[in-house]
Symmetry: C2
Subunit: 584 residues, 2 copies
């Protein structure tokens, strides 16, 4: 009976994990560390002997652990939170990730590791650990302080950027080369996919969950949630993205559902079970011999992580306008690596582009930096005092003035409102264009298959192309019209602002009207050229294109109001789900 | 990446299960049926094609489903409930199981199936399905009626008897023969193991869980619960019992913990996830060709299950003193088979003693009887009316008189109290003796290993045996003394009752005292002979035995009060955990 050895593995994992985590809890260390140590103890590399029989099955379950971890992260993510996160989070997260990838890469090259190993090392060092920070701040009872809120903001931005890094690394690992063109195209496609997935997902999934919830059966809700989660992961894998991305995205989509609390309650035990297996499986892979061999790189990388993160995050927080003390606290709170690093290291292993030593090294660095985190957070205040005493008066005054200057140039009153309005319009235009591009790309992607079905009616390939392209245009019309109207509103706003009567005199009104008409038309033209380029493979001949244009124009003329209403309804549905009280 | 095909399987299972269960919910059918049908749809035997790639991993997860199902059943079981269950439940469950095993066996033989197939068929038909009954009674809003409470009582007794059947079948399947001696010894050992496991478990596990709960971390509590659950299953497997028994027992032990509600809440989603996989995996195995080939046996067995259960359970309820209408309702409510039958059928398959067709046949019968259950429950009242009209007046009066007679002979007032006291004393003696027997059996079992450690001090095997036997006796002393004292109390009670002054005249007091002294001493003698027989392999020579007896007598004389106190403390701890306010 194969199942018995499997049950035995689970029994050993859970029993040892239980004992070690209780011990670690008493030592005031995070549970995660306990799991890793438990895995180390029962692993094949440590005496007495390997207690795990069926490592493959355990690794498969560990994969489930990753999915549930990322799914939970997505559930806690929520777009609303991202919109509310301030400049600090964006600047600090950006600085941290860019600097840490560079530092990691340079360290790897310095130790004469391969390009891929160095690149993955950089990515491994880039993102801090939510789990460990939350635990440390909880233990220190600092969860509600201002710097903690800033840290949580940074972590949210990091999650999204981390997802991007994973997608990028997968692309680079498969093609084997890093070109700026590829990076650009990967990021573009990824953003496009994420926007479309979020918009479609938020329109469909919360409604479906609300329907299932009416049956008031936890079991049915759970099965539906799991089905959607695994199903979406599968879809993402088929599109050649990482499963991790899928789990996070579907989590973020479900975060907009009314059943969020219930879903979190149902998923929590399952996540805890599988993530325990995941972290124990990490410990299983630790080989003391490798750790000893790589003691020197581990030490260097650990120091680099702590110093690099303090500097980059602290600097980021300072640039965004926080005082020195808060910035130092933010930097010191974020100075460790954790679950994201394990996931990236595992990615390198499964893609078979990194060396065997990278994973254990990452784990060792994570353990060391995790252990130091609470001490660093506690040391932030004394350190800032001491720094304050050392830094020369003049430097301190310049630094202080920077903050004041930053606050003085921030738009206030009408200016701030205007900036907010422009940002919102641009976001709406972006989302609509992403949907349009998605429709055309899907048309191009499925063109052959659709063409096959069309042969009975339209034999000629040119005609087929024209039909597909025309259909894509028809489907896109509501979004194109919406984008046009938003752009028009924007250009009117800009004309109003930019063309002042004191400059244009009596031509003011006329100039304003021209600008308000020209900008959106020009933008639409650019969009069409872009669409034509993206859908080059299904672009019909000039004559057919003209025909399509005439048909489209007729449709727009006749159905203008209806198309607007369709779009408005979708937008209302989306915003209702997002529970945002923005006017549309 | 092996994990992707696994995720794909999970996605297919959960997505199809989700859709089908929603459909079945709308059709007012149990979710379980939906899962089985979902498995049938995606299975390898039905078009379009097999959607599952890695059936082995799915089956391993299905095993986890069985463990969590039985663990949950154990959590809901609780010894308190068993103590409170009335005579109806015991009589009905006993009659049902005996009759159904016999009917199943005879049907199997009639179809010329093998002995093992017939025997397993009998066991498969023996036990009704808690899941399906609860769902049906919920839907009919009859959960709080009297007959529903009787049904739940029957189900609790069935669980315990079902566990016994599984243990027995494993033994029979391994040895390949059914002898009454073996049945007796298996049942004896099983009862012994269950008593010891429950007593030790209830002393240890709830305390441990209460300790872990002080950390107020759901994650740690869950990991501990899972560790104990899998660990205990493993122990039970090493003792050559079924994993199912282990999961149920550890569940029943945890049911006595104060953290029961929290544990149930944490385990529920995990159980739902894996039991969904379990039921879908059952559907996967359904082959329409086999079902068609065995259509005739399936029809016969289905009718036999419905009629057999109505008669046996109804009769049992009636014999225990319920009126005809209630009895009929009890019988018709219990007339189906479900999850226990699948587990028994799976047992036959994994032990490789049953034919391939048995599992699908059992599933088909379960599906048919599940579909009929709600109609049968609703038909019970009209049927009892019609039966009441058909049955001749005289028969009806005789039947009515039976119930009255039964109520008249039931002990009341002092008599009932006395019966209760005697029952309680016998239970306590039984538990203490089970522990003593357990200690001696463990001594005999580990004798060789312990002897190996002793050789440095005692070279001679005879001396080693004497030491082990003496140690076992020493350990047993608190329980032996407790049993002796309970027996003395019982015999005093019996002497008081049995020897009345009008019979024994002026000798009354003396006769009573003799009886009160003789009975416990005789019982102790019987116990020692029994122990000597059970521990024959480590029984020392006569001289050494005498020496041990002298030492034991001295220990008893000196430590009498202390030994009583030790036992009392353990008993208090046990009863406190059971939250029973019985005097000790």
């Amino acid at each position: 009976m194969h199942a018995i050895s499997f049950i035995q593995d689970l029994a050993v994992i859970m029993l040892v994990a239980g004992v070690v985590t209780i011990l670690f809890h008493r030592l005031r260390q995070p549970v995660v560390l306990g799991y890793i140590v438990a895995g180390f103890i029962i692993g094949p590399h440590t005496p007495p002997f390997g207690l795990i029989h069926d490592e493959d099955t355990i690794k498969t379950l560990a994969e489930l652990g990753v999915i549930f971890l990322m799914f939970s992260l997505g559930l806690e993510f929520s777009l609303r939170k991202l919109f509310k996160v301030g400049a600090t989070a964006f600047i600090a997260a950006f600085l941290e990730i860019v600097l840490m990838i560079w530092i990691g890469y340079e360290i790897g090259r310095w130790f004469d590791w391969g390009t891929m190993d160095s690149l993955f090392l950089g990515a491994i060092l880039a993102i801090s650990s939510t789990t460990i920070i939350v635990k440390a701040l909880n233990d220190l009872k600092m969860k509600n302080e201002r710097f903690a809120q800033l840290i949580f903001g940074v972590l949210i931005v990091e999650d999204i950027l981390g997802i991007g890094i994973i997608a990028l690394l997968s692309g680079i690992a498969v093609s084997g080369a890093v070109s700026s063109g590829e990076v650009f195209s990967t990021v573009g496609k990824l953003s496009l996919f994420m926007v479309i997935a979020l918009v479609v997902g938020i329109l469909v999934v919360p409604r479906l969950l609300a329907y299932v919830a009416t049956f008031e059966s936890n079991e049915m809700l759970l099965v539906t949630v799991l089905g959607l989660c695994f199903g979406f992961c599968l879809l993402v894998v088929k599109l050649e993205y990482s499963m991790v991305l899928g789990a996070f995205l579907i989590g973020a989509i479900m975060a907009e559902s009314r059943q969020l609390l219930k879903i979190e309650r149902l998923i929590e035990p399952i996540r805890d079970m599988f993530s325990a297996i995941f972290f124990v499986a990490i410990g299983l892979m630790l080989d003391p011999a490798i750790l000893l061999d790589y003691a020197w790189p581990i030490a260097v990388i650990t120091v680099a992580v702590v110093l690099g993160k303090i500097v980059s995050c602290g600097l980021g927080a300072f640039i965004a306008g926080n005082d020195g003390k808060t910035s130092l606290r933010v930097g010191m709170g974020l100075s460790q690596i954790g679950e994201f690093s394990f996931i990236i290291a595992a990615l390198g292993m499964t893609l078979q582009v990194t060396s065997d030593f990278l994973y254990p090294v990452a784990v060792a660095v994570s353990v060391l930096t995790t252990l130091s985190t609470p001490y660093l957070i506690r040391a932030a205040d004394p350190l800032s005092h001491r720094l304050g005493a050392i830094v020369p008066q003049r430097v301190a005054r310049v630094l202080g003035m920077y903050g004041e200057w930053l606050r003085s140039i921030q738009p206030r009153g009408q200016g701030a409102m205007l900036a907010l309005m422009i940002r919102k319009i641009l976001l709406q235009v972006g989302v609509n264009l992403a949907l349009v591009i998605g429709i055309f790309l899907a048309g191009a992607y499925f063109a052959e298959r659709i063409g096959g079905h069309l042969t009975t009616w339209v034999a000629e390939p040119g005609g087929q192309k024209a039909l597909i392209w025309g259909a894509a245009l028809l489907l896109s019309l509501p979004f194109l019209i919406a984008a046009y109207r938003k752009l028009k509103a924007l250009s009117m706003l800009l004309a109003e602002m930019g063309v002042k009567p004191e400059m244009a005199g009596r031509h003011t009104q006329r100039v304003r009207r021209v600008i308000a008409e020209v900008i959106p038309l020009l933008s639409l033209l650019v969009i069409f050229v872009l669409l034509a380029a993206l859908s080059a493979s299904i672009l019909p001949t000039m004559e057919l294109l003209l025909l399509i244009a005439v048909v489209a124009a007729a449709v727009v003329a006749v159905l203008w109001r209806w198309l607007i209403r369709v779009h408005t309804r979708m937008q209302v549905a989306l915003l209702e789900t997002l529970d945002n009280n923005v006017e549309h």
